[in-house]
Amino acid sequence: MKQPDLSIRLGPLNLQNPVMTASGTFGYGPEYHRLYDVNLLGGIVTKSITLKPRPGNPAPRIYETPSGMLNSIGLQNVGVEAFVKTKLPFLRGLRGPKVIVSLAGESVSEYVALARRLDGEKGIDGFELNISCPNCEQGGMEFGVDPRGTARLVKAVAAATRRPLIVKLSPNVTDVVAIARAAAGAGAQILSLINTLVGLAVDPARWKPRIATVTGGLSGPAIRPVALRMVWQVHRALPKIPLIGIGGILTAADAVEFMLCGASAFQVGTANYVNPQAPVEILQGLRTYLTERKLVSAKKLVGGLKVPRVLRGIPKVVAG
């Protein structure tokens, strides 16, 4: 039988397949290239870059939780100038994946300056705005939890770059659709969701938090149902905007769940720590899944979730 078509269109971006790696879990590419050819991937999202280098948060920074992990890294990164000099050359040499640079800042002007600085650099296919980092005192999440803040930021960055703009949504909000709508209305061509959920783990013997900043971002399979719900909600409210699903994807079956809920592509994050080959195994698994079901294209999965007719009219999902 003919191989199924894995290519995916994400608004202005054409991906050779829907498998992307999530920001902060994959470095800048060469780290995992030691284990497999990262040219096989559909896309790579870099660790978030800031204007100036950041030392990051004090240790301990991570803690394992049931089917998940908490992290509070604090956007440790080399800063944009060192990124261009030392990290971008490798990414520029890649032939397969779309290279998405994740941008983070503490103010609108910082995001804008970053986008301007990188706009002319070769080897970048798009930006992902990290407006949802839960581990920073300033900025980051404050943009991502308020529709007006989101719109203001996205509009300013969209005006500063010609490159495709992805906005990564925070799950730490009451109404994710409102934020999604604000981002799309302000010029985001693609939305990715979700970032980590704010959580806390405690050491009952020492009466202390398990990570130095007390709270951190929860990732891994533990958050998958929340992520699926949010992807489905946003896809139903804004069916025209392409979505990238993120949240605890370990296997091809997990990825299929996201595509059925409306994601055109997906990002593999924490799974890279569990199984460094996860992205390529998911790619192969997806190919097998489509072949076995005689589906000619991965696009057939997008938004295919079968929902009982009586439930289709409910406009909003309320927690509780």
């Binding site: 902060g24 879990t25 994959f26 470095g27 780290e31 995992y32 030691r34 284990l35 660790k47 280098p53 950041r54 030392p55 990051g56 004090p58 240790a59 301990p60 920074r61 991570i62 803690y63 394992e64 049931p66 089917s67 998940g68 992990m69 992290n71 890294i73 440790q76 990164n77 080399v78 800063g79 891994g220 399979p221 370990l250 924490t270 890279n272 720590y273 569990v274 199984n275 460094p276 080959q277």
Partner: protein, 285 residues
């Protein structure tokens, strides 16, 4: 460095809560250096989720095997302890920055406590081997454990025929006290030059201390080494995510370098696990 599903050839208890594993992994055995570790997937599901970093005890290049000793400390290692020999284990490695053996090394002090002892055995074996090639490194080992039955690797060091002293908390084997007590006594005896000086080893590149064990032990050992002017390397442990240098979860604080503000934290998985003792900020213990 590779990821491989390696046959588990041998798996047995060597002390309370301590288990030895022998795995068939020729590529890892060939590449492995003392101080390096493997990142091991426990189970195949998603709970426990993360891999566990475990130091190498030995690598046999001829047989293509690697040995590890781990201690059951939580849910992950508890799952590991139940695996029967004959199965396979998903390994990633060898990883990390190994112990550095300086070219002109004449005398090595190795100080280990508890489950920190295994990487020092691997190092001792390498040092003993280097004797034959004109290196002539004198190896002196200091081991600490709770009691006689909690001591691991004691017999292995004995077979290497290196001078080994033991301290136990209750005095059931060797001296009653700590590894640091053993080191203090030994350092008093062995300051060949400048005897009686406060820091007899200052400027001496021929002697080095290698440590791996509980943080308070290493902090005290590092302080002792600093007082004596003795250069030291320590192998650190931290909860780890990817072990590939990506997640920045396993960092430790190192002495601030004014030139680069982002170098304040270093990764145990990449720049470590072995660090120069003088670079480590010990306050958090």
């Amino acid at each position: 460095m590779i990821q491989v599903k390696a046959p588990l050839l041998l798996h047995r208890r060597v002390a309370p809560e301590h288990f030895l594993m022998r795995l068939l992994a020729p590529v890892i055995a060939r590449e492995a250096r003392p101080g390096q570790f493997l990142h091991i997937r426990v189970g195949s599901g998603d709970n426990p989720l993360l891999r566990r970093p475990i130091s190498l005890l030995n690598a046999d290049r001829q047989a293509g095997t690697v040995d590890l000793i781990y201690k059951v400390v939580g849910s992950g290692t508890a799952v590991l302890a139940k695996l029967p020999a004959g199965g396979r284990l998903d390994l990633l490695g060898p990883l990390g920055h190994p112990f550095e053996i300086p070219g002109g090394l004449q005398e090595a002090f190795l100080a280990g406590g508890g489950v920190g002892i295994p990487p020092l055995y691997f190092l001792a074996k390498e040092l003993v081997k280097s004797r034959g090639s004109g290196g002539k490194v004198k190896v002196r080992v200091f081991l600490g454990a709770r009691t006689k039955e909690w001591l691991i690797c004691g017999d292995l060091f004995k077979r290497l025929k290196v001078e080994t002293r033991v301290a136990t908390d209750d005095g059931s084997l060797g001296r009653k006290g700590s590894v640091v007590d053993l080191m203090k006594a030994a350092l008093r005896m062995s300051s060949p030059r400048k005897r009686g000086s406060d820091s007899p080893f200052r400027g001496n590149d021929e002697v080095m201390l290698f440590m791996c064990g509980p943080t308070p032990m290493m902090a005290a050992g590092a302080a002792l080494a600093r007082r004596k002017g003795l250069r030291a390397q320590v192998s650190l442990e931290e909860r780890m995510g990817c072990a590939m240098g990506c997640c920045l979860g396993c960092v430790v604080e190192v002495a601030a370098e004014p030139a680069s503000s982002h170098a304040r934290f270093q990764r145990v998985c990449t720049e470590g696990p072995v660090f120069p003792a003088e670079a480590v900020v010990w306050s958090r213990s």
